[in-house]
Amino acid sequence: MLAATVRVTRDLDAAEEAVQDAYVQALTRWGRDGVPARPGAWLTTVARRTALNNLRRQRTLRAKLPLLLMDVDDSASVEAAVLDDAAPIPDDRLRLIFTCCHPALSQEAQVALTLRLVCGVSTPDIAHAFLVTEPTMAARITRAKKKIAAARIPYVVPAAADLPARVDAVLTVIHLLYATGHTAHSGENLVRDELTGRALDLARMLRPLLPSEPETAGLLALLLVHQARRATRTDADGRLLRLEEQDRSVWDAALIEDADRLVVGALRAGPPGRFTLQAAIAALHAQAPGYAETDWPQILTLYDELLRRWPSPVVALNRAVAVSMVDGPAAALAEVLELEEDGRLAGYRYLPATKADLLTRLGRHAEAAAAYRAALALSDNAAEQEFLQDRLSRTLPP
């Protein structure tokens, strides 16, 4: 609804105002005349009409100020858009999400704007999810909206040549939303389900809107596998469980099957992108009967390809785990130490945690304990801290 209204106003604040106005009108009108057959359509029509009226009023004002030039062509197209009620609304949502995830905005602004404007989440709820105060989040959103207006970030679906890079930015935001929900601090289950749910909705929405982009299927598949395994991520006490400790019979087989179908389709569509490759890895894990029986050589091949496409030290660290299963923990430890040397992952708690795990497997318990302590010092998440503490206690002599 907001997306359809922005197309009329070309101004996010004016559109939000018109949408709120429509809700107010609905309260009085529906109370008096009953709820219309298609409440959503009713609201959208009213919001767009309100926006158009406001716009006309502003134009009259502008006409009286000779210094301010009015773009005549634009006013014609705006009227055409509002009169054309059959205009495809999905396109509007697509434009809106590309505007919110424009690379000229900081990533934290992209995430906040997407939640606020595409998903309609309230500013206090967004602030809560990202552990910042409400005024901080409100200021972040206002600043981003001001930049969109002042720098004229366009409200369009990007040209075909730019599409893959811009789609990647959108998918990154959706993935970040899901990850934030997935690793929400303990006791924040509501936030968690809200964010992961929103991210899934967005991924589902995007796929049919961008059928030419196989990465949209890759991202959806990746999120579906995470979702299929979410019940076993922690035990009854909220403690994190390692993949090898999780009860695979509880995983949602239907979701995994959906994900697998999406991965196969995306792989057929051409050279796979990073989300498709991550989804393929996750799907292989999800379909294996057990941790040891996983097709590790295939997973390592996928990681090699992922690292080629996306040379990130985080990917290299995850690949090291696959290396440990194919070539043994000593070979993997050598790669982790090289990553540690490189320094780009300084402060990243999964590096010492992975290192500690490999050292434990090699029987080097004192060094493992030191690495677990280093990981503990970097974690601010209660469930993770408990997990690391438990691992640490096992490295010490009984």
Partner: protein, 118 residues
């Protein structure tokens, strides 16, 4: 159409000296207005700056030698373009010939209230 300033930042040699611009960069600068028009924009004008070693800074009553902000890549020039929106401005700005540095795109303050796009 919206007006944007394209700020050119180039790496300077030790002591804020600029090496002579290579001839192909000069030629590319001369061709730039034409290429911008080909892509549906317009260059409204520009300035090129002497190297930052020639700059003088005034803070309050204090006059000192050198640029206001010392950076590895110093402001070397500015030109102003007209573009449809930020995506178009980025496309045009990317045509700027650069030796070793980059450009910054900034919208100019204008009396325009039409919101997101023109």
């Amino acid at each position: 159409m919206t007006q944007y300033a394209i700020l050119i930042f180039e790496r300077e040699a030790e002591g804020g000296q600029t090496a002579e611009l290579p001839p192909e960069i000069i030629a590319a600068h001369e061709a730039l207005p034409g290429r911008i028009v080909e892509k549906g924009g317009k260059e409204l004008g520009g300035i090129a700056l002497e190297p930052s070693a020639t700059a003088t800074t005034i803070r309050g009553d204090l006059v000192t030698d050198g640029p206001f902000i010392e950076t590895k890549e110093a402001l070397a020039g500015v030109f102003v373009i007209e573009a449809r929106d930020l995506d178009h401005a980025i496309e045009l700005a990317a045509l700027t010939p650069i030796v070793s540095g980059g450009v910054e795109v900034r919208p100019l303050v204008g009396l325009d209230f039409s919101g997101l796009t023109s």
